[in-house]
Structure formats: structure tokens, C-alpha cells
Amino acid sequence: MEKTLNTKFTYTEKKDTRSGFGDGLLEAGRKNPEVVGLCADLIGSLKMGAFQKEFPERFFQVGIAEANMMGLAAGMTIGGKIPFTGTFANFSTGRVYDQIRQSIAYSGKNVKICASHAGVTLGEDGATHQILEDVGMMKMLPHMTVINPCDYNQTKAATMAIAEHEGPVYLRFGRPSWPIFTDKDQKFEIGKAWKMIEGKDVTIFATGHLVWEAVVAEAMLAEEGISAEVINIHTIKPLDEEAILESVAKTGCCVSAEEHQLNGGLGDSIAQTLVRNNPVPMEFVGVDDSFGESGTPMDLMKKYGLKAENIVEKAKKALARK
């Protein structure tokens, strides 16, 4: 169905965003000798093997010990290293929240927390692994930058960009093979929203895997004569409030779309911005206060209401409230 639609962005290839991280890390390592990698028994899953191979003396296997990994990373910054930690999003956040809070965020350490298998699209492993609260936890931490890129190319660019950025960063990506629809050699500007598609009736603010769904939703809405603007919010914190307010000043209503709990996600942050500045009607696409479960990524996207169809429905609802 997606193929017959006239989407403004298209793809010929699919790849997992975690591979974008692995390839970006290798590049960052080549560019900057201070970059070091740490991993908790998930080198293959995180795609850190190439970095390990090329820079064995700058790579540390810590075993299944995520709390220790966060502390080690914090320590390595004292002496100028730029540590990239790698494990699943659940074990990168909830498992080690206080270690991140005290040793990394509060201490202002230059650690890059790189988190794969975020959200329901990790699929069959089920709810124990499908964290949907990580963005909330991380964005609440003072000093923390939170980034959720949308495809392989953007994840690679983001990985390279955070190596240049001073301060703690949470970089969130995923497991499934996903359309590659953004430019290969894009420049990634932390904190700068990207207006991908101009529109005038409703704005779709999307992050992560759901940016692709937003692109599809725009085409579906266009077929019904509704003009949607699509904005890629790859950086959830700091939030590009200016871009958000400028867009809704024009469209007058919006939808947020994310593979995350509604509580504490991107939508929450946008809503705060709107309430304080320009309270236009807003609808939310995300997981509504429930854990995930086992299933194929697509079955789960459907069951938890994360598809383009859901964005379309919510966009119409927002429009009707104008």
C-alpha cells in the first residue's frame, strides 16, 4: 500500500538504524582518537564489532554489567576520553538510571549513551526488552541531550555529530530493518528540527521510526485534499521550540508521533511548549500507558496504533478541533 502512494520521500533500501550507529561510531573513531567504546555483551546486536576490530585498545567489553559500564564511562571522561556505551535501550536507561543520574548527568560527564532495540519494533523478545519509557527518563535529567534519529543515514550522521558535542547524550535507535529515506551525507544539527514536507492544514511532529510513518501519512492525507506539514524532531531535548511554534502558527493544529509512551514522550514536550505559547489543538500517536508484548514489529505497530493510518486519523481529529 505504501508503494502505490505518492510519498514525498522514497526509499530503495532498508536497513536497521543500529547499523547506522555502528558505522557512525567507526567513522567517529577514525576522526577522533579520544572516542572509546564500551559494550555489555551485545557487540553483535549493537554493531560495534567493526569499531572493536579497528580499535581494540579503545574498546572495552564489560560483560553483563551495565551499571558498572556507566560508571566506567563516566570515569574515562576524566582524562579526556569520549566514551560511547552500547547496550539495549532498556539496559541503557531504566537499569542504570541512578548511575547515569549521579555519575554522568549531575557530574556533567561527556558520555554518549547509545541505546538499541528501543520500542516495540524490537519484536519477539517482548515487553521485558521493549522499553517505551526511556525518552521520558532521559529527558527529565538536567544536562542530558536526547536524540532519536529516523533511519540508517540519520543515525549514522547523529552518531558522528554527538562525538563532536560536549556533554552527556542519549542516542536512541532500533533493531528492525527500516526504509532509508534521508540523505546519505546529511549534516546533523543537534537541536535543530528538520522541516521535511511543507504543508498548511496540520503539522505532524515525528521522531524515530515514526518519521517514516509520518511521511506516508502525509501522502495519505494529500489524497484526501489535506495538506500536512511533516517535521522531523530528531532531537527531543533540547527541543526546537521555534520551529514548532512557527509551524503551528501556520497550520493551527498538530499531531505528535513516536514509538514511546505518551506519558513522558516527545508529545509531552511539544504540548508544554504549545500550552505556554500558543495552545492549538493537538493529538498524540504513541503507546497509551501499556507495556508491549511479543510479536512481529509490524503486528505490534498495528496493535499499538503506531502506523501511518493512526497518524492520519489523529490528524483529522486535530483538524476537526480547529
Binding site: 560483560g63 519484536g123 517482548g126 515487553a127 521485558t128 526488552h129 508484548e293 511479543s294 510479536g295
Partner: protein
């Protein structure tokens, strides 16, 4: 439950191994390696050693309880729970599919009989088992709590917090077991993060330690569990170091971490099933 003979137990193992392989193959995901390696242990517990009822009740008063900390080996547990009567074997076909009670990692959210706490995030199960063992003591319940962990899992700090606590509080109605298969996701435990001498470590933490040299030999598995039981009630928690071979029972899967979390393809499944007697009938 009627106790099975060694011969019947071994036949059951063969069927459980078939179940494991068919389950992971059907969804092309899940963890066959550790499941196959721990089959004798699970079958021994549920068909011979545990005093338990399949009439599931969360509190499990006056029966032995089992906790699985290394939740990724759910296939072996689901098969053994189904084969011992907790739920119908046909439900094994729903493993890891949407709307199933047989989640990738065991959970209580879907109310699957036999499961008392979610696991999958490693390192947490022994704490819960110790808590349940203490609840039994408070209740004047003299039954035993069993918990299984992985050897890679021993790298989690929480395991050692729990180990220290259990000895300090004399939790002597607990038999913990470690699946010592010497493997984890990234390779050998000695290469990833060396555990060194687990016997000495647990002894130093104040535990009684027994060792099952061949955890894939049913007679030995049973005799060591019986020995562990004989050490209960003496003021110390008991640890059983269960040496197994990951992937045991299938020649091309045995002894490597490659099958930790990879399902066989059609051909590999057929080859594997050819090595395992369909003793109780496939689901």
C-alpha cells in the same frame, strides 16, 4: 504428581527438545542453546524432584517454587510446564506470536500458569526467589524455593547483593542453580568477563556449594538435587553449579554460543529433529 523413572525422564527430555526447536523455528527467534542445555535440569525438577501442583496458584503455599532468572531460556520452561500439565501443549504453537501468553521472556502480565514473576532483564531473579523463600519461612511453610540463573548472568552486580543477603539472613530453604555452560552472547565467559572460581566465590559468600559435573546426565542431575536438598535447613543457602553443554542433544548446536539466540532454518530443524525421538507426540 507421579514421579517418573530415569528412562521416562530421558524420553521426556527428547520430546522437550523437539518442542524447543519447533517453537523457536516457527517464529525464527528465541533462544535454543541454553534451553537445550538445561533440559535435563527442568525435566528432573518438574517430573521428579519438585513437590508442586499444576493447579496453579500465585502464592504457591506448601509447594516447592521455581524461578527462572535467565528468562531467555523460556522455551524449555514453557515446554516443561505444558508437558507437566500447567496448560495445554497446543499453546506452545503461540510462542512469541502476538496476543500469546507465551511471551519471548516469561511474564505474569498474561497470567500464564507456572510463572510467578517476569524475567528477561538479567540479574534479578535470585533476589525475588530469596524474597519468596523468606515469605515461606514467615508463613511456616517448609517447602523449597529453586532458582536458575545463567553463568554470564553472574556478571550482574545484583546477583552478588542477593548472594550476600541470602547468607546473612540464613535463607536455608533455597537451592539456587547456575547453568555453567561457559558461554554467553559474545562468546566464552572466560573471554567476555571471566567469572573465575564460582565455587570459591559462593563459598566465600557463605553458601553451601554442590556441583553437577555433567548436567546433561539425568541420574547425576537428580542425585545432586537430592544432595542439595539434604543440605537445606542448616543455616546456609545452597548453590548447585550445574555444568551443561549449550545446545545439548543436537550435534551441530552443541558447545557453542552461536545458537544462544538463533533459530534453526527448515533444513537445520529437520536435521535436528532427526536426532530426537518423538516420545510423547509433537504439539
Amino acid at each position: 504428581m507421579e514421579k517418573l523413572s530415569i528412562d521416562q525422564l530421558n524420553k521426556t527430555c527428547s520430546q522437550v527438545r523437539r518442542d524447543i526447536l519447533r517453537m523457536v523455528h516457527a517464529v525464527n527467534s528465541g533462544h535454543p542453546g541454553g534451553s537445550l542445555g538445561c533440559t535435563e535440569f527442568f525435566v528432573a525438577l518438574y517430573f521428579n524432584q519438585m513437590e508442586h501442583t499444576t493447579d496453579f496458584d500465585m502464592d504457591g503455599r506448601n509447594e516447592d517454587l521455581f524461578f527462572l532468572s535467565n528468562g531467555h531460556i523460556s522455551p524449555v520452561w514453557y515446554s516443561v510446564l505444558a508437558r507437566s500439565g500447567y496448560f495445554g501443549v497446543e499453546e506452545l504453537a503461540t510462542f512469541r506470536k502476538i496476543d500469546s501468553r507465551l511471551q519471548g521472556h516469561p511474564t505474569t502480565e498474561e497470567n500464564l500458569p507456572g510463572i510467578r514473576i517476569a524475567s528477561g532483564s538479567l540479574g534479578q531473579g535470585m533476589s525475588a526467589a530469596i524474597g519468596a523463600a523468606q515469605a515461606k519461612k514467615i508463613n511456616g511453610d517448609d517447602k523449597t524455593v529453586f532458582v536458575l540463573m545463567g553463568d554470564g548472568e553472574q556478571q550482574e552486580g545484583q546477583v552478588w547483593e542477593a548472594a550476600m543477603y541470602a547468607a546473612h539472613h540464613k535463607v536455608d530453604n533455597l537451592i539456587a542453580t547456575i547453568d555453567v555452560n561457559r558461554q554467553q552472547i559474545d562468546g566464552l565467559t572466560t573471554e567476555v568477563m571471566d567469572l573465575q572460581d564460582l565455587r570459591k566465590k559462593y563459598e566465600a559468600f557463605g553458601w553451601e556449594v554442590v556441583e553437577t559435573k555433567d548436567g546433561n546426565n539425568m541420574e547425576e542431575v537428580i542425585s545432586v538435587i537430592e544432595k542439595a536438598k539434604s543440605l537445606l535447613g542448616k543455616g546456609k543457602p545452597v548453590m548447585n553449579l550445574l555444568h551443561t553443554e549449550m545446545g545439548y542433544g543436537v550435534d551441530f548446536m552443541v558447545g557453542t554460543h552461536k545458537w544462544h539466540g538463533v533459530a534453526p532454518n527448515d533444513e537445520q530443524l529437520e536435521n535436528a529433529l532427526g536426532q530426537l525421538e518423538e516420545s510423547l507426540g509433537d504439539y
